[in-house]
């Protein structure tokens, strides 16, 4: 059914649908997220959570200064986060700019990392300010170069000025280009949307338009993936599943720096959308520094000593 039967593709239908969504009380959402953050995850469940979190990391480098050397180092780390311990799982994917996709894909295949996907940011990431033909070409280039995942940004200017149908149509167009070659993550840049009501609206808009994943942020703006924002998005995918029996993934990105933060995210998933989402095909964490903290915590759990950064590798 087109757009899951939720909207008919017209501006009027979309406005009506978005207007019918129930609101979010900010203080209540903050309180629920804070309560879930008090969960104490220890011993076996902590060990499981660490490995799961590692497998969900989208190891990311999105800098103007990225070079083939940097990207290759990232890819090696992605496949074997701890060269001394083969039991450490590979990460979920590597995330790079589209002109680095080819290098990343080639290197991953070279080092036995063909199971690790390459996600490309696209549509004039991070600002989203460019013409539609440019955004489309951006996406095509990435897929042609071997990206199996596209992380697009929405046009926040259009969203905040109420031109929801433009945001919707952009997502539909990019989804079409992705076809069956790549899954589509839609980035909201929640720090710019500000209110939880907006995050909820954006979630349903993106899902109706065909997103496979909804993603909080570009990582270039603070605040990024705060717990209440992720909570609101998890509630949205849960409700969407109720309506359509389709599970959409969620990716928090930015601000998740250590193991404690990562485990809090997993608890949020577990008690909001449900354990069905505790898999890299439905939950990813966009991060870079996080991986080494996960490794150090993993070491401590295995040998009992607090680790030092010397014992984990730089990417």
């Amino acid at each position: 059914m087109k757009f899951y039967g939720l909207v008919d593709g017209s501006d009027a239908s979309l406005k009506k649908y978005l207007g019918s969504l129930s609101g979010v009380d900010q203080v209540g959402a903050d309180a629920r997220a804070a309560m879930l953050a008090t969960r104490s995850i220890k011993t076996t469940s902590k060990r499981w959570a660490i490995d799961t979190a590692i497998s969900m990391v989208d190891l990311t480098t999105l800098e103007g200064a990225d070079t083939p050397g940097k990207v290759q180092a990232l890819c090696t780390k992605a496949v074997r986060p701890d060269p001394t311990d083969p039991s450490v799982p590979s990460v979920g994917a590597v995330c790079v700019y589209n002109d680095m996709v080819e290098i990343a894909r080639r290197h991953l295949d070279l080092i036995g990392g063909s199971h690790v996907g390459v996600a490309a940011v696209s549509t004039a990431f991070p600002s989203g300010r460019a013409s539609m033909p440019v955004k489309i070409q951006d996406t095509k280039d990435a897929i042609d170069a071997g990206a199996s995942e596209i992380d697009m940004v929405i046009d926040r200017g259009a969203f905040l000025s109420g031109r929801y149908i433009e945001v919707f149509n952009e997502i539909v167009a990019i989804r079409e280009i992705c076809g069956t070659k790549a899954h589509l993550k839609v980035i909201f840049e929640t720090g710019e949307l500000v209110t939880y009501d907006n995050v909820r609206k954006a979630s349903f808009l993106a899902m109706a338009a065909g997103a496979d994943f909804i993603k909080t942020s570009t990582g270039k703006v603070t605040p990024a993936a705060t717990a209440p924002v992720v909570l609101v998005m998890l509630e949205a995918v849960r409700d969407f599943y109720s309506m359509t029996k389709i599970r959409i993934g969620v990716k928090p990105a930015g601000g998740i720096r250590n193991t404690k933060d990562a485990i809090k995210q997993l608890v949020l998933v577990n008690e909001t959308a449900g354990p069905e989402w505790l898999t890299p095909s439905l939950f990813r964490i966009g991060a870079s520094a996080l991986l080494n903290d996960l490794l150090m915590q993993r070491m401590k759990m295995d040998d009992g000593y607090y680790a030092s950064p010397q014992y984990v590798t730089l990417d």
Binding site: S22, G23, V24, D25, V27, G28, A29, A31, R32, T38, R39, S40, I41, K42, T43, T44, S45, K46, W48, A49, T52, E235, S242, L266, V267, N270, E271, P275, E276, L278, T279, S281
Partner: protein, 483 residues
């Protein structure tokens, strides 16, 4: 097909090592711990293990306590400036903060409530209550209750088992700030944190006799209420006992405040923020195992969103973690006593026989201890007993309404009037509803929120007077008229 994982939280027990429980306790009278004569056991309701033996105060003990309180009032406390009195209360608050962990663990062992709640709610609020009232001791002339307010003298205070330490703070802090001395009787099943509090009084060097703690049962409470040496009674407990006290005290000159039962309506309008409302419903009735006088025990759902909300509610209830209160991840702890469990079970059976449709969250209940699964009854109307009588457990009665006025009428259709909840994103509606509801505490888009600055108390048969805030001080000052 992908294997569905399950994220089981491994046990995360809080350590008991921080508390030392004596095998036997006496009373705290005149600044000293004095031996009791008869004792009864107090148990951990989660395991039925005997924690200690508590003294059953008789006439001699109560007399001694009142005498000590009177002496302290006449010779020391009434002569002390508010400034100095306040500093004792600040000391007490600080020491409670320092020993917070000890208090939290002890409260959980004795009461059965989850350690997370003792740690994050009960103990911090109790300390905050002392901080707040410490600051009033030298500012009574600004409270709007007269330029030279005077204390009553000796206050007799009887507190319940649901928030033992917090109820102690609600009673003792304002009484002392206003210049009274106290004789306090904690509840039979939960005396341990009160006895630890006595230690804090000693550490704070509180003058002997300002605070006296006598333990016992209902007979002890009656002795205090009847004692001619008591000037003021403060009671928190059931409406039934509250009425007995009101009758007993009527021919005397004793001043009385009562904080009694409730059957609060939690009203969810169609324009509520649904997920937060569901959290509010859960919080309203399952917080503290439903052992809350102001619990939102009647859910009033606007009929056009009832199905959606109930589905979400059941799904949310299935995530409630019931079990060992000492586990940091437990959401719902043990029922405080066998007696209370019996009451809850009986009233729930009444709900069944009245035709309510019962649904309980699937959960494994431990074999020892007193437990009740979080439960809702749908298809309930105002004419059901379970919509009228206080169950005081994790049982929610669900009713529906069509129009806002109907919601108000149903909400007010009760002899109780302690609290109410309103869920709507429309400001004018929230204010309209709060204006119409006959309840002393109204939570809009939230529930079960407490603060020392926020007056708490009921309309109608939910009691007399307020606790907390400027209004709460009037209970402990003479000459201010109240019921």
């Amino acid at each position: 097909m992908e294997e569905i994982v399950s994220f089981e939280y491994a046990p995360a027990p809080e350590s008991r090592a921080v508390v030392t429980i004596k095998p036997k306790y006496g009373h705290f009278i005149g600044g000293k711990f004095v031996a009791g004569t008869k004792h009864f056991p107090t148990i951990n309701p989660a395991t039925e293990e005997i924690l200690s033996h508590i003294a059953l105060a008789g006439k001699a003990d109560v007399d001694a306590a009142v005498k000590a309180a009177r002496k302290a009032y006449t010779t020391t406390w009434s002569k002390m400036s508010g400034k100095e009195r306040g500093k004792y209360l600040f000391r007490i608050a600080r020491i409670m903060q320092e020993r917070a962990r000890e208090f939290a663990v002890l409260e959980t062992l004795d009461n059965g409530k989850p350690i997370r709640e003792s740690r994050d709610v009960d103990v911090p609020l109790a300390a905050a209550h002392f901080f707040y009232h410490a600051g009033w001791a030298d500012k009574l002339e600004f409270a709007g209750l007269g330029t030279t307010p005077k204390a009553h003298g000796v206050a007799g205070q009887i507190i319940p088992w649901n928030f033992p330490l917090l109820m102690l703070a609600w009673k003792v802090a304002p009484a002392l700030a206003a210049g009274n001395t106290v004789v306090l009787k904690p509840a039979e099943t939960t005396s341990l944190t009160a006895l630890l509090f006595a230690e804090v009084c000693q550490q704070a060097e509180l003058p002997a006799g300002v605070v006296n703690i006598v333990t016992g049962d209902g007979t002890t409470g009656a002795m205090i209420v009847n004692h001619p040496g008591i000037d003021k009674i403060a009671f928190t407990g059931s409406t039934e006992v509250g009425k007995i006290i009101a009758r007993t005290v009527a021919p005397t000159h004793k001043s009385v405040t009562l904080e009694l039962g409730g059957k609060a309506a939690n009203i969810v309008f169609e324009d509520a923020a649904i997920d937060e409302a569901v959290e509010g419903i859960v919080n309203g009735i399952f917080f503290n195992q439903g052992h809350v006088c102001c619990a939102g025990s009647r859910l009033l759902l606007q009929e056009n969103i009832a199905e959606e909300v109930l589905e979400k509610l059941k799904s949310r209830m299935s995530k409630i973690r019931v079990g060992d209160p000492m586990d940091k991840n437990t959401d719902l702890g043990a029922i405080n006593s066998k007696e209370q469990l019996l009451k809850i079970t009986e009233l729930s059976s009444v709900g069944d026989s009245e035709g309510g449709q019962r649904w309980s969250a699937p959960c494994e209940l431990p074999s020892k201890g007193f437990w009740f699964a979080p439960t809702i009854f749908t298809g309930v109307t105002q004419s059901h007993r379970i919509a009228r009588e206080e169950i005081f457990g994790p049982v929610l009665s669900v009713l529906t309404f069509r129009t806002p006025q109907e919601a108000i009428d149903k909400a007010n259709n009760t002899p109780f009037g302690l609290s109410a909840g309103i869920w709507s994103e429309k400001g004018s509606k929230v204010l309209w509803a709060s204006q119409q509801l006959r309840a002393g505490v109204i939570w809009a888009n939230t529930f079960n929120k407490f603060d020392p600055t926020s007056p708490f108390g009921g309309y109608k048969e939910s009691g007399w007077g307020r606790e907390g805030g400027r209004h709460g001080l009037s209970a402990y000052l003479k000459g201010v008229s109240h019921e």
